[in-house]
Amino acid sequence: MIAVENLTKKFDQFTAVDDLSFSVQEGEVLGFLGPNGAGKSTTMKVITGFLAPTAGKVTIDGHDITHEPIAAKSLIGYLPEGAPSYGDMTTLEFLNFIASVRGFSGDELKQRVEHVIKEVDLASVGHQTIDTLSKGFKRRVGLAQAIMHDPKVLILDEPTDGLDPNQKHHVRELIKNLARDKIVIISTHILEEVTAVCSRAIIIAQGKIVADGTPSDLESRSRYHHAVTVRLSSDYDLQADLQGLADIASVEKSEADPLCFTILAKEGAAIYSKVSELAQSKQWPVEEFHVQRGQLEDVFRSITQQAIDTEQTEEAA
């Protein structure tokens, strides 16, 4: 278990992480979301023991990262932002180096290196120097070193940044496979990634947690949760028909397509059946009709914007 208690990190006067507390259990894949500069990377750097906290503490399976750094770091596999690695080494040399630092030697070392090379599909570039590799391969080398010792805790800072869609998919599958008995924390600003791999998401802004829940929890906070999108084949005045219906918050007309409408539900209400009945009885010229789960992007924007606004009003006052 990772426990973060009242973690604060300041750089001179700037507070990057502000009194953050949360814990992560085995089997959880935690997505760390936030706008750029929200403190995601800083939090990860403190959890992995790279930066010392200004206040508060972090324990990994009971080992305090400040007081027992070696024990705590042995449990962690970490992919830093940008996946840095020693560019003048070949992939194999680099992975051998990491494996020996992780305490492997002899046959066991060979097996581990072979295993991770297979796992992230690096066999074709084993003898190439890392500097000559493409961005996607470099990222995979970074992933390979992070999972070398089959760590209990895997911390990945933007693991799919710069990868093509196939590679992204591959890395996500990998993370899902690894996650079963581990703790995985990934930071990202790609929201589809959260829905794809995370079992829990924390949104931070201005160094504080502004939302914490499962991805579907967060989606349900969206204005678009349970909204119904209708596309018509010809012009028809939906709004007149909808006025009598309860539980409808508003109707939005799409800017791109004048025949496309989104009917927003009032909070907590399910309107799909009502709207569908209405559409049948009034014989709308419907071409497409579907219900939305909610847009994570919309939640993300409204929540983080709120946090920034409050901060600014506080400062002004």
Binding site: P69, I70, A71, K73, P80, D88, F97, S100, V101, G103
Partner: protein, 244 residues
């Protein structure tokens, strides 16, 4: 193999996997030759010793060693690998020492490859090989002193050129601080004790006696403590400046 050894090995191999080590060694050998034979008048002196060879070493190291040391930490910072290295389960001391030792061994290899000059002097005359061995040891210790300064300067910045310039400047101070030119420049009212203390910090003071074959424990101790102090300073700087 402990973590110190693993880091040492990685660093040393990385010198040889790029042209850096070879260029360093070749330039070191060529300049050594020029200094010894041309400027040092090795043949003209007609003496069976290597004094002209060794007496140029402080000035040679002044530019050669910072070139090796400048990347030690600055590059780790620049490429971000410092974050990788320092989140591995190793002690900072192992990282600092491992990197230093690798660079020191590289200078040792370059120094050892000057052996033809030792063969030459033995072929031409009958030198005191004990003196020559002592001078080699002294020279290597002095290179270590330069490197330790370089390690600390390299930890201060992510720009290796800045690290190079800072290292050259500080090394220059430690070279001239014990030289007669500077010591004579002290006004007379300054007590002799202060002047002596200054001169005791100078590389030349300690290297001169070693290169004449006097392996005094105090001179050896000076370089050892000097290296240890600058490496400790490196570790402190790295710890303090990790964030930027």
């Amino acid at each position: 193999m402990g973590n110190l050894g693993i880091i040492f090995k990685r660093e040393l191999l990385s010198y040889f996997s790029t042209p850096l080590a070879y260029i360093f060694i070749v330039i070191f050998l060529i300049t050594n030759g020029i200094f010894t034979f041309d400027m040092g008048g090795f043949y003209m002196r007609a003496q069976a010793d290597l004094l002209p060879f060794f007496s140029f070493h402080p000035w040679l190291y002044l530019f050669m060693v910072p070139a090796i040391a400048m990347t030690l930490w600055a590059d780790e910072r620049k490429t971000g690998t410092i974050e990788l290295l320092l989140t591995l389960p190793i002690r900072l001391a192992d990282a600092v020492l491992g990197k230093f030792l690798a660079a020191w061994v590289l200078t040792g290899i370059a120094l050892a490859l000057t052996f033809p000059i030792w063969i030459t002097v033995n072929y031409l005359g009958e030198p005191d090989n004990g003196v020559i061995l002592a001078a080699y040891i002294g020279s290597w210790l002095m290179a270590g002193g330069f490197l330790a300064i370089g390690s600390c300067m390299s930890a201060c910045t992510r720009n290796s050129v800045i690290a190079f310039i800072l290292t050259v400047a500080i090394c220059f101070l430690f070279v001239i601080v014990g030289s007669p030119i500077l010591l004579n420049a002290f006004p007379e009212w300054i007590p002799q004790g202060v002047v002596d203390a200054f001169s005791a910090l100078g590389f030349l003071t300690h290297f001169d006696s070693i290169s004449k074959g006097v392996l005094d424990i105090r001179d050896m101790l000076f370089f050892t403590v000097f290296i240890a102090a600058w490496l400790l300073a490196s570790a402190i700087v790295i710890e303090m400046k990790k964030a930027n």
